[in-house]
Symmetry: none
Subunit: 204 residues, 4 copies
Amino acid sequence: MGLASYRRTISETKRASILAAARENFLSGGYSRAAMADIARDADVSTATLYKHFASKDALFAAIVEDATTTAEIPLSTDIEGKAARDILLAIGDAYANQQFDGRMNELLRVVIAEVPTAPNLAREVYKNGVLGRYDQLIAVLNALVARGDLKPHNTGEGALHLAGMVKEFVVWPALFTPRFEKPADLAAKIEACVDAYLKIYSA
Amino acid sequence: MGLASYRRTISETKRASILAAARENFLSGGYSRAAMADIARDADVSTATLYKHFASKDALFAAIVEDATTTAEIPLSTDIEGKAARDILLAIGDAYANQQFDGRMNELLRVVIAEVPTAPNLAREVYKNGVLGRYDQLIAVLNALVARGDLKPHNTGEGALHLAGMVKEFVVWPALFTPRFEKPADLAAKIEACVDAYLKIYSA
Amino acid sequence: MGLASYRRTISETKRASILAAARENFLSGGYSRAAMADIARDADVSTATLYKHFASKDALFAAIVEDATTTAEIPLSTDIEGKAARDILLAIGDAYANQQFDGRMNELLRVVIAEVPTAPNLAREVYKNGVLGRYDQLIAVLNALVARGDLKPHNTGEGALHLAGMVKEFVVWPALFTPRFEKPADLAAKIEACVDAYLKIYSA
Amino acid sequence: MGLASYRRTISETKRASILAAARENFLSGGYSRAAMADIARDADVSTATLYKHFASKDALFAAIVEDATTTAEIPLSTDIEGKAARDILLAIGDAYANQQFDGRMNELLRVVIAEVPTAPNLAREVYKNGVLGRYDQLIAVLNALVARGDLKPHNTGEGALHLAGMVKEFVVWPALFTPRFEKPADLAAKIEACVDAYLKIYSA
DNA sequence: CATGAATGAGTATTCATTCAT
DNA sequence: AATGAATGAATACTCATTCAT
């Protein structure tokens, strides 16, 4: 058993280093410019080993994306107990911004969008889990705030999109168009303005 | 003059057919998958002729993008005379939606975003002219409405981004993630909801 | 007749400017790197006109070479009347050096040598007329000097090659290996040394 | 170690066959006409393997040239002990002639000269190592002969160039201008004449 | 007669993937 | 199980030459 587990550990270490190298390569230059040979070199494995772990470049890319969308997901707590509506929404906005920038989700989105023609299923998956999924969580929070009487009853499904749309305008849109875009200094203020705008409409 | 004008006509015809073929190829499969040989074939010219007109693949791509961002621009009229604020904003939203879908601007944005790592200058240009430029026009309209007393005085710069962000959520965001995404049937209603949300905040 | 001669003049002017442009292009970068389009541009004519004058790139190259080998040839005077043997030989050496450098013959030789595999006949022609031809003239001079009693009777055919070989070592050999090689300052002294060496052997 | 050495052997075999094929292609038709695909075919490898071994056509050409100039160099022995001056110089001349013809150095020189405009550094290298280097060796021999009293004291640096120039006239000059030029039957006699001419000047 | 736009065949180079050891 | 050498298909770009006007 010792040998088997040793081998498994080695194997998992290699897999992890491959994923890291691949992520770096895919995110920095896009799908096409990432070369399997480079990824193998960066991961300190041979190309054959790379292919032992991932059957193809597409599969490796899918693994990167899936890895990012599943591990990076910090589920929003719908626990609103004892917190003001504004603070709750601000916290959500901040968490979102952090993930998009620190987790390099914006760069990932760019690469996924780039590959929509070639990997439509992957894009759909990302959109469903990474985008729409977040909305479900936000809607749940909004509903809870309505239920508690902080917000007027309203179409929270639509509202969530409106709020998210406003925030994205500052958080992801510019990042899509700029290489190595860093989190702007005044981002928190921008998000506050979005939340306040939302509250102006629906605050009870 | 007969010869010169004849040649110019021929040349412009070929140039146009090259641009059309290139546009189709770039938009449907992205930059990398578009092959110069295929574009030449689709445009019914030789590759050499293609290169006579456009010095490189990059240059051709830039021409496509510039062509799209300059010709497609329908300047928003800031003439608000005799029209209700809501109608004006709805008209702007509709115009925007039409351009994004009918002009295939969404597909273009996708390809431009895809090439941000390789063609950052082009992306910056598109962002400045195609995105920020539109905001300037919207801000001008909002200012006019404020001046007329339809809207409360407010930070129209920020407001324009909020309004645009909400609309984009329905108009461009899903289109980025879905190949050949068509204009949804209920889009007008979605835009109305965005405009109404905005008016709820700032209507005088 | 006026029109015809006018046309002929124009045509000859164009031909000359084509030859000049071609010469420049061929000599500076070699046969392959010289592009017919560039030559036409430099000569201020269209490519079609270029082809009206010279049927092919090969033909143009041959014309350049022939032009250079025939027009540049300054026939050596075999008139030795009243001049010392040493001075005569030095004058020949100087004339040779001038032609090789000022007439850009060294560059021409390089290009011709380069094209030996593709244009062997041309190379043979150049070798016969441009190289061996000069030897005949030199031999004639040597024979005259022998006849006058300045030199001991000897195999002047072989002697001419020996003398020419020594001189070439300084005049053409380094020029073949160096782009834009200029005439060295001490060339005259080097040539003197060669002539003196020759005279040491055969002086009467 | 078995695997590693096996691979090394295979790799070196392939490298050698690539070099041979490249040499043949470059020497017979010159740089431009040698196609990487043809070289790969002649070497029985794929183009990709070719590029694994040599990063570019230029690099491959440089390798050929370097290979030829380094491996072909048969250093002249300066050991003159017990041999007559004439025999020593004749032996040097013969060795030189053999190398130029049997080692196909003349063809190589032709190709290098052809590429002077495009690869000046390579040409300079060849000139320095392949041409001037040989002169240094010859000068050393001449100096030894002077020291032994066989030759009169003289400027052996200049003398070496004179002797070499005369010999080249028969050994390399015609070879440059003729494709597949073979060693002439009477070459030994020609070289003897050159050596004798030299001895006539400087023999003690 | 002069033009310049158009051509098609050719070339160097890259890269995802496989396979013998 | 791991290696890295080998592959072949694909691609951007060039250039001598021709032809309709």
